[in-house]
Subunit: 239 residues, 2 copies
DNA sequence: ACAAAAGTGTTGTGTCTACACCCATGG
DNA sequence: CCATGGGTGTAGACACAACACTTTTGT
């Protein structure tokens, strides 16, 4: 590390890109913006933007998240650094190094679509949807990471509203992993983990209109899941 | 993302920092360099350096690793992106965003100490050792990450030479986690995981001078560990 | 003979899976 | 009364921790 001359090299730009995931109608959705200008004008892309001169990547990501979703209180939301993408040809205009983040949201207010994007929308997660730049790759990495995190962290509650039923929590796992889980076993597993969830006394809610009203729970104080809740059939278990 | 004017903002510098870990004499060691100039002159720091104009962070990390360790064949080594550190005051000279990597080495040749560093050395891992910049934090994050990876990946073999005994492999876990493991159970666990290790037919080696010669194994083709090998006593299991 | 390290066996405890079954509500 | 979703119980399979025991080497 020498580099006293700030302008010795071609300058690097540093941006953040956000993979914002939510659940709408039991389907995984992603926040995407339609690009207003070249390159990739008219294409869908992950929201993001440049770091301001005295911002950390985390701060920039939270600011962008607030701007793009129009949420007032973005302070409590789960935001996590995914990884950094630094291929020299990511952006045809100049050298851009991008720090990617994943954000998990419970409810899904329609985004404002402000800023330099033509529009911002929630679209169903589809690994085959073409995106601008290397955003397909980033989104796939985010999905894989979130799926893995569900196994050994209490992250699933970040997809749920403040009070939720165990069925809704199970839906998070089933939707993200794309598998069906056994309800009795899931229930026991969650309740057996200390401080994963805590019951809301007396409260209940009708979920699908029909059926028995379900008890409500709040996210507990636990952050890690020991032992983990492994997703089945990753070819690990032979008959 | 607008930013057509490359020089609109104060320029960012992008660097890589490496947390290079190895095992020497059953102790975790880190590759550190002594800084030759201000700031932090004379202090220990993680090796690293600037991205060249057309280098990805991964390429730069591998290049720096080769330069600092003096290893000829650095292509097969385990190198993994840790996370990116972007606090606005990380470096007093200018705005530096650093992509940190962890590298795991089996044997430990003495480093060359070339480049702009006063010297490069293997030093025992010590979370309390003061380091330049925010490198203490980076190193702690790397240790935590590697410890976690051992649980559900086959990463441990990256610390071992091409042929190793199960005792040596167990030493990796015990050294990184700082706990003792039951040898019979560890052995069964490893051998029960398909393709974690494969035996070298007929080969054996004396480990500590005394004792029965141990059979030799090679790293297998597996990359994930299902089910995981959880480290004990993380306050998860009561009595 | 003894110490040290590798390797095998066994047994109890716990956890997970897979189901069968009951409860409450809307149509 | 039936469909739908919430919630409880239970038996077999499996995995794991703990520890006793045997084997092979060096001193």
């Amino acid at each position: 590390m020498q580099g006293y001359d700030k302008y010795a090299f071609e300058p690097f730009a540093v941006t953040v890109d956000l993979a914002v995931l939510t659940l709408r109608a039991d389907t995984l959705h992603v926040l995407l913006v339609e690009r207003g200008q070249e390159p990739y004008a008219g294409q869908w892309a992950l929201p993001g933007g440049f770091l301001l001169p005295r911002e950390s990547a985390e701060t920039a990501a939270r600011r962008e998240l607030a701007e793009e979703t129009g949420l007032s209180d973005v302070s409590g939301l789960h935001l996590e650094q995914l990884r950094t993408y630094s291929g020299p040809d990511r952006d045809p205009r100049m050298r851009v190094v991008s720090v990617a983040f994943t954000a998990l949201l419970p409810d899904a207010p329609e985004p404002h679509g402000g800023g330099d994007a033509a529009q911002a929308r929630w679209l169903p997660y589809d690994p085959a949807r073409p995106l601008a730049f290397d955003h397909e790759r980033i989104l796939a990495d985010a999905h894989e990471r979130v799926g893995g995190q569900l196994e050994y962290s209490c992250l699933a509650t970040a997809f749920c509203p403040p009070e939720f039923t165990l069925g809704e929590l199970q839906n998070v796992y089933e939707t993200v992993w794309g598998v069906a889980l056994d309800r009795p076993n899931f229930r026991r597993k969650v309740l057996a983990t200390p401080d994963f969830v805590e019951p809301v006394p007396g409260a209940a809610r009708l979920t699908g209109g029909r059926g028995k009203p379900a008890a409500l729970y709040r996210a507990g104080t636990a952050t890690a899941l020991h032992p983990p809740l492994l997703r089945p059939s990753r070819e690990g278990r032979p008959a």
